[in-house]
Assembly symmetry: C2
Homo-oligomer: 242 residues x 2
């Protein structure tokens, strides 16, 4: 029986995987982490995240912490998975950094992962007294070692939106600007799904989404034949689904 | 900054929502909880769940705890959501029961929810020295108050499999016996999706799932015209998806 065994209280944290799209690449928002280890200064990257407060529910903690670290407000954060490998805080660099930052003895941390899809034009506080945030290509995660198990968390978040996209293709529009071209839309879809769609088939299929509207406008300031712009009318889509 | 604020270590638990289907109703596996409160004995129901061990990852904890409470082995448990409302342990009955059972001072518990779909014929230890398990109609949760926020957790698990079913209809076969009738299959689908499918359309649609096979057998021991049996050939389906 568990009564006879040592039961141990882990810390609980949240980590946020925020994706953006600049028209060419899928990006993830990372925070710079600076500290010293033995006599070396080091700097690496981590997901925006921290330990929850005593009286805070998980969603509130995610919203607060993302705001504290990036200035982002009114972001729809969706919980996707919790990570509780006892070894996820075993790297001495991570442990030392955490204990310095939190002034707490850190054993184990179970973290709850949140994901958000935002327009890359959203106002972000990239530089503040305490933190530095920056967009990174999702591909750069293949070679860049993030703090803790944050590479894994980011990969799981990507898998999650890939899965969600199959059911709810309109999540693409959360990442696109108000007005977008068919090429941008297809390119974004292909990046997330890791495939190469046929141009015509894609257009035919995507235009079946309720709420997608072709505009009488073309893209400006392009050196080639300007492509037509589209937008997504959320209200139309919602009406249809009721 | 969070450094100046009290940071508090919650306990972390897992709770398992195990669904079964008896041909007529969708069932959920609950554990009887008995205790005394002030001078009254009480008995109510809870999901199979408990606090994780220090050195255990979340998946291992879910598997261990479900086995300890029900004898179930080799169950595919899938994490679906974590629940961290600080008020979820605020009911004095829940708090007293936990403190007696665990011999620990309990403040807050963040719980990680797992869901499993199993054949109702699976061998379960319904009665043991320490626990009693029983299948309950999912409908009975509308009127039965479970311990903690377990009604909410069970409802969220149901929502999760409803969502999953849209993408992966073959999860239905995890709940059905090896050989089943088209009526059983449709009935199960309708219960989860909360709809009433048209008999012909349903059959036409469901037969498109790779791996579903019509057998040269009919259902036995039924007082009416015996319906044909089907089975799901997982290997065929896997081959196709590769």
């Amino acid at each position: 029986m568990s009564n006879d065994l040592l039961v141990y209280n882990p810390h609980v944290s949240v980590d946020c995987v925020v994706f953006g799209f600049n028209g060419e690449n899928l990006k993830v928002l990372l925070i710079e982490r600076m500290s010293s280890e033995f006599d070396d200064n080091f700097s690496d990257k981590k997901l925006p995240g921290s330990i929850i407060y005593e009286d805070e529910n998980l969603d509130t903690a995610a919203t607060r912490i993302l705001n504290e670290l990036t200035g982002l407000k009114n972001i729809f954060l969706s919980q996707f998975h919790s990570f509780g490998d006892p070894m996820r805080t075993s790297n001495p660099r991570d442990k030392n950094w955490l204990e310095k930052t939190t002034k707490m003895k850190i054993g184990r941390i179970v973290t709850v992962g949140y994901v958000a899809l935002i327009k890359i034009s959203r106002k972000i506080i990239f530089e503040s007294e305490n933190t530095t945030a920056k967009w990174y290509d999702i591909k750069s995660l293949d070679t860049m070692k993030l703090a803790f198990d944050h590479n894994k968390i980011a990969q799981e978040a990507l898998k999650h939106i890939r899965h969600q996209l199959t059911l709810e293709p309109y999540i693409l529009f959360e990442l696109l600007p108000q007005k977008f071209t068919m090429t941008q839309l297809r390119h974004l879809y292909d990046i997330i799904m890791e495939k190469k769609s046929d141009v015509r088939n894609f257009q035919k299929k995507i235009l079946q989404i309720e709420g997608i509207e072709q505009l009488d406008e073309v893209q400006k300031d392009v050196p080639y034949r300007a492509p037509r712009l589209y937008r997504f009318n959320k209200k139309k889509q919602k009406k249809k689904n009721k």
